[in-house]
Symmetry: C2
Subunit: 102 residues, 2 copies
């Protein structure tokens, strides 16, 4: 559903990637909690979290008046498998080329 380039685009910003790794290392957190660590506004972080949520890298969990965001490790499987697949395609191409030269 989520196209690869959308995933990569979501990971392609410095502060947004910082938000994601913060969630991966320190566990679920809210936008205001993250804003205390990262030197940008809460609204900016909120936008980043919305972007990460849109591609499934993060899930929303409303608890009363606050919203806690959780890192979704499964979404990175798509990234890892795309990378290995594409690199693998190249390797197989090299093999075919090598064999055709014998």
């Amino acid at each position: 559903m989520t196209e690869p380039h959308e995933l990569f685009s979501a990971l392609g910003d410095r502060t947004r990637l910082g938000v994601l790794t913060a969630l991966a290392r320190s566990g679920p957190a809210t936008a205001t909690e993250l804003a205390a660590t990262i030197p940008v506004t809460r609204q900016a972080i909120s936008k980043h979290l919305a972007a990460l949520d849109a591609v499934g890298l993060v899930t929303r969990h409303q608890e009363g008046r606050e919203v806690r965001y959780q890192f979704e490790a499964d979404a990175l499987d798509t990234v890892a498998s795309w990378a290995t697949d594409t690199a693998g395609t190249w390797d197989r191409r090299l093999d075919r080329l090598r064999r055709s030269l014998e």
Copy 2:
């Protein structure tokens, strides 16, 4: 050297990702050859190739008057290892949490 978010940013565009996968599948090619397949201008593709070259996803090979670009599979190792590492960090966090609940 190349920061992860730069790599992801380079992969975060639809047509640019198309250029890269075309090189991975069909082997080295020039900008004009790629422009015959992908519905954008040669200059646009040339810019994309420059962006991919800047992060090491592709290498330039000048041959007379034409420049042939080659896919570099090794650059994707960084992508794959980052994904598995980050997911792994999360898994270890889950393990610690699970153990602390016993």
